[in-house]
Symmetry: C2
Subunit: 416 residues, 2 copies
């Protein structure tokens, strides 16, 4: 046994039954032969959804502090069961809640960010045990209230722990083989990518690819944590490795992402004066609603403007509420909504240097009668908002147009 | 609103569904109009059994620390849901786990005793809230590990909190109307007792009556907490009041208790030498097995003795294991087991002063061909071990012989 520590994270589907917990325990026990292990687990299967449903049947708008205390039980059950299974296999294991590990967060319930991890607690516990089984998705405030980390919380827990103990790696076990050039359920010949940079994965995640949450990837980049996405049910498979900026050679394009939960909202005919976009985003930020693409129409001949932007579907109702309140204050004419949108994005580290790429993407969509509602570009991505009906077709066409299926099984360095 | 604080406790059946949680919230909200309230709740319905079953399917002998962390989630779910419901009704409520409330225990997992409760934490939280919803059955060690209090844990939590805040009363809500002269499922005309002393209830609880756990009653007596057992589904009903030793007038007999989970064990033909009973009880105590009645046969003519005693059925296997180990050391001939026993007890504060009572009890059983295997008496009770088959019949006969159905609806002072 050397001094190395490895972090493994298993999602809800990987621990959804006692049989699966046993399988996961096998992977962990095998790894624990090589080094100390910290395992982060999510709640079993649909537990979290079930708990939310129960809370909603108690109140249409359950208080967030209570909701966090409720949801945190899901992970607490998984860690206890996994630890019991590991101990039964003879592994010196111990389960720890977020609070017990000392994962301190802000006191923003249901969406807290990690402020600090008590490294000494972890070091102490690792001295006495070969495996620590830590509850993902949860933390505790300085005053002892339980918080949850929101979406991607368990991935974030895993990466944060890996950073705190300077782990040799953080393996995110899931129910797919790794990261693909696009959703393999959508495009049959989607290619598995063996190696990616943080930046590429970050864009993919932000743009709707469900494999990893951007928070976790950002944290991994910040602390240079070597991430690996791999399949719980094919533990011999290496999956996709995500590493830092030491690679100077990038792929032009690495994947197509699709996010079907988008809505477009427009506030029409606002008198043209400075600060309107600021007022809107500020009002939304107060409700913790992030807006995505924002398009301001430009009519030099008239003194009215319209501002359109996208939000995630689940924030739509609240967004409209905020805008209706703002409407009079801004002197706007109306608020318009297009609820059934999707965002299809092309991601690649070398994208910005090749101006023919946007052209090829737009032409592909146009030739296939898919109307583009909004466009947004950045250094590593190119996104189009289309109607939700067209989203999958658009992704398939773009994947084909850029021949992404040919990226299969090659490492980044060889496919420039 | 005065400065009074009341503690209410609701068991698992009282919160087994969202509908029932809503009902409980109604009772709590009503009470909160009068004074500050601390509500203690158990896990919903069969949750605890379900969690134990999951743990057992991970390991035949799950580690107790992990089991506690697992089981504590049951109450954590109930408190969050009840708090959400209360808030939804406009009540300023807050849920707290055992750890958050500062219920510190020994670090004996699955059966910890409360060492201390942080009164300041409670006072602080009560300043900001009208209702605190506290998880029963659980505490935390000084090092932050979650413990559970074992059987009767939630009742104990409620009484301990009532003592800590000097509550005006502690109402234990359950699914029966109060405490009866015997199990009303068994004896149709069992009478509801309106008032009892701690001592009487303590004997009843120890002797198998399931209404209150002796730990909770002992604690209530120690801190003079006014206990009331009442029906969740008849909140207008006052149930049974249990109060302290200020009453100088006792009933001779108050109830018949029955405990069907008893086993008799005998260690046969032990050479007659001092200290044998000590060795046996010591060996059993090490495994945390308490023995109940103990009978040592007395044969002045021979130099061998036999010792028989009762244990609860679930401790039988371990007891036999311990005795088989001891057998050679003690030079005993054999270990004999009578697994199907029951204990029927007559309880009453004035029992000791009336020698005709034992006679009437034994005669009643004898006339009905019920064989008495062991007898044990103490200041407030008179117990007979009979075969399990005869237990219910025996209880019915004794209840009838002493005309306990006539105690109905009278306060203790009037029925001397």
């Amino acid at each position: 046994m050397n001094n190395e520590i490895k972090v493994l994270k298993f999602g809800g589907t990987s621990v959804k039954s006692i049989g699966r917990i046993e399988h996961v325990a096998g992977i962990v026990a095998e790894c624990a032969k090589q080094c100390k292990v910290i395992v982060v687990v999510s709640a079993m299967g649909d537990t979290t959804d079930y708990l939310v449903k129960m809370a909603k049947s108690c109140s249409g708008n359950p208080e967030k502090r209570e909701l966090d205390l409720l949801l945190s039980t899901g992970e607490q059950v998984s860690i206890a069961l996994l630890a019991i299974k590991l101990q039964d296999m003879g592994v010196q294991a111990r389960s720890l809640t977020g609070g017990q590990v000392g994962i301190f967060t802000e006191s923003i319930h249901t969406n807290a960010r990690i402020v600090d991890i008590r490294k000494e607690t972890l070091a102490d516990r690792l001295k006495d045990n070969d495996v620590l089984v830590v509850a993902g998705f949860q933390g505790v405030t300085e005053t002892g209230d339980v918080t949850t980390l929101g979406r991607g919380g368990s991935d974030t827990t895993a990466v944060a722990l890996a950073a705190a103990v300077d782990a040799t790696g953080c393996d995110i076990y899931t129910d797919v083989d790794g990261i693909y050039t696009t959703d393999p359920n959508l495009v049959k010949n989607a290619a598995l990518l063996r190696q990616l940079s943080y930046g590429e994965v970050l864009e993919m995640a932000r743009l709707g690819a469900k494999v990893l949450h951007p928070r976790a990837v950002e944290l991994a980049r910040q602390y240079n944590v070597k991430l690996r996405v791999r399949n719980t049910f094919k533990p011999e498979d290496k999956g996709t490795l995500i590493v830092g900026g030491e690679m100077e050679i990038f792929r032009a394009i690495s994947s197509v992402a699709i996010d079907k939960d988008q809505a477009a909202v427009a506030i029409m005919d606002v008198p043209d004066q400075p600060g309107i976009a600021g007022k809107i985003t500020q009002a939304l930020a107060k409700r913790n609603i992030g807006i995505d693409m924002i398009v301001q129409s430009f009519h030099p001949s008239i003194d009215h403007n319209s501002i359109a932007f996208t939000v995630s579907s689940d924030a739509l109702d609240e967004t409209v509420l905020v805008l209706e309140e703002l409407k009079a204050q801004l002197g706007a004419r109306s608020v318009q909504v297009d609820a059934d949108c999707a965002k299809v994005s092309l991601i690649g580290a070398g994208l910005v240097e090749q101006p023919d790429i946007p052209a090829r993407m737009f032409t592909t969509l146009g030739e296939n009668s898919i109307n583009i509602k909004m466009i947004s570009t950045s250094e590593m991505k190119l996104s189009c908002v289309v109607s939700r009906d067209n989203a999958e077709k658009a992704a398939r066409l773009i994947h084909e147009a850029f021949e992404l299926h040919l990226l299969e099984n090659k490492s980044a360095a060889t496919v420039v």
